[in-house]
């Protein structure tokens, strides 16, 4: 409860009565017509009654920031899908660089730089948890790909496509299954912005 608001937790009420109230508010909205304020308030009451909204009350200012960011991430994810999180998605794209034809030493150096950069998020996250990156890399690349015959390939359990590492539990897991995911748009624009900044800086080198 605050000076402007009272929250009723687990309110009751007969569904018929609630429906009647909903109709009443719909009436009010059509009567409100041009007044945008009244309309807004009525719409909000309607949404609250229809159960289409959730209100999350968060304890501290710091936690509130986290909650707001989480909400933003969830919205972005709904819009553009998700990729394996914790730096795994970027790390997995490195394989694609190996198929690149480079023209001369300079281009090869550029590819090497991008390859290093794509490992940086994973390395940083694992490093912050006080764990060894090389061990994690081995765990990701390693044991779950046994050689299989044709029948095995057709009917055997497929190795996880999203093999990664949970730094909280210290285990290699299917990151998508345990919910370690990032919005695809966020990961993509992070890479795009990093490349753009790098190009700007490197462009200053020989003027």
């Amino acid at each position: 409860m605050t000076k402007d608001e009272t929250a009723i937790v687990q309110g009751g009420g007969k569904s018929q009565a609630i429906r009647r109230q909903i109709e009443e508010i719909k009436d009010e909205i059509s009567r409100a017509g041009a007044d945008p304020d009244a309309r807004q308030i009525a719409l909000r009451r309607l949404a609250n009654l229809c159960g289409g909204t959730a209100t999350i009350r968060v304890g501290s200012a710091e936690k509130k920031l986290h909650a707001e960011r989480a909400l933003l991430a969830a919205r972005t994810a709904v819009e553009g899908g998700v990729v394996p999180g914790g730096g795994i998605a970027l790390f997995n794209t490195i394989a694609a660089l190996n198929e690149l034809d480079t023209d001369g030493e300079d281009e090869a150096l550029g590819v090497t730089m991008v390859r290093e950069a794509l490992q940086a998020p994973l390395r940083t996250i694992v490093g912050n948890a006080g764990q060894d990156v090389e061990a994690v890399k081995a765990a990701i690349a390693g044991p779950s790909r046994p050689k299989r015959g044709l029948l095995g390939a057709l009917f055997g359990t497929r190795p996880s496509k999203h093999l990664g590492y949970d730094v909280l539990t210290g285990q290699s897991v299917d990151v998508v299954r345990v919910g370690i995911i990032d919005p695809a748009q966020v990961v993509r624009s992070a890479l795009e912005n990093a490349a753009s900044a790098a190009i700007t800086i490197l462009g200053q080198l020989h003027t």
Partner: protein, 39 residues
């Protein structure tokens, strides 16, 4: 203040590195904290 060529590049790199180090500390599920001092 004006700086040129090698000196300018070195200063630019210094700034990028210290920013990157500060941000890197905060990444992941077990992050460290960074305190900012406004001058």
């Amino acid at each position: 203040m004006t700086t040129h060529s090698e000196d300018a590049r070195r200063r630019l790199l210094n700034g990028m590195d210290s920013l990157a180090r500060a941000v890197a500390t905060t990444l992941g599920p077990k992050p460290g904290s960074v305190a900012l001092d406004r001058q």
